[in-house]
Symmetry: C2
Subunit: 138 residues, 2 copies
DNA sequence: TCTGGATATTAGACAAAGTCCAGATTGGCG
DNA sequence: CGCCAATCTGGACTTTGTCTAATATCCAGA
């Protein structure tokens, strides 16, 4: 896996490669996610993007994250009943969730194997398999 | 597994066995969940319990579901970012979620095996493993 | 360079899920 | 009956997310 450095300049190409018109706001939001490689909520993205001076509205943050999702640029992680996390890592992987702190980290899917699942209902296709390990301090 | 019939009368004993003082409202809420053996949101519980005549407040529904959760009488299922489902089935099992319809069903854990998980971070203990298969119409 | 239309952004109203609190009800017990 | 603790309640409040109508930006063609 190449460890690349995500600059704002890189973001335009990344967005274009996902069929997304790179605007200033979209570049900032992508940069927030990809430069950190962390799971962020919409609120966190909003805060990061507007650190220096307010420049992106709430509506745009939500619109943009939804667009990224549709275009497959990011993935949604549903572990906390109160907010959705957006994940710049779209390769198949699982999650470890520390319920006390709210910390969410990746588990590489490569060595994890899930077997014995029953056949899917007829006419259904898998959209994704979410495996979440919920942990807390012993 | 004994297939038992969950009557309102049974509920009092079930609640007591989980160290919950059986009040009228608690019995109604438990009955809603256990007689159906379905995954219900707080809103759905509220609607069911208040079908005949309004008798249980929103605050009590939420308080009671949280109490049931703490006492291990029900389990929480987080699959839909907009609402939590409460699950009267506390035996280890997984879930199949139909994203279009919102239908949520159980997958018996007995034959499912998950292997190759990395060791937990030091000082952490597993609180639960959630496996969710998200499916949609082909 | 100017102009029109498509695309994108915005403020702020709105909705839904869930929390919180202070006051009322209940129910068991002396 | 009257007391006390536990429980329940309406309704205000918070948070996350959606929607809309108005504005801003971008760019292709004249
Ligand atoms: Mn900027
Ligand atoms: Mn009743
Ligand atoms: Zn992840
Ligand atoms: Zn279940």
């Amino acid at each position: 896996m190449t460890r690349m450095h995500y600059t704002r300049d890189n973001m335009a190409g990344l967005l274009r490669s996902h069929d997304i018109n790179p605007t200033h706001q979209r570049i900032e939001i992508a940069h927030a996610l990809f430069s950190r490689q962390e799971h962020l909520s919409a609120d966190q993205v909003m805060a990061i993007v507007n650190t220096r001076h307010s420049e992106t509205s709430k509506a745009t943050v939500y619109n943009t994250l939804k667009l990224f999702l549709e275009k497959g640029l990011v993935r949604e992680v549903i572990v906390d009943p109160s907010k959705v996390f957006f994940d710049p890592n779209t390769s198949p992987h699982h999650h470890l969730y520390e319920v006390d702190s709210g910390k969410l980290s990746d588990i590489d899917a490569e060595h994890v194997q899930i077997s014995g699942l029953p056949p899917l209902p007829a006419g259904m296709v898998t959209e994704g398999i979410d495996l979440i390990i919920r942990v807390r301090k012993a």
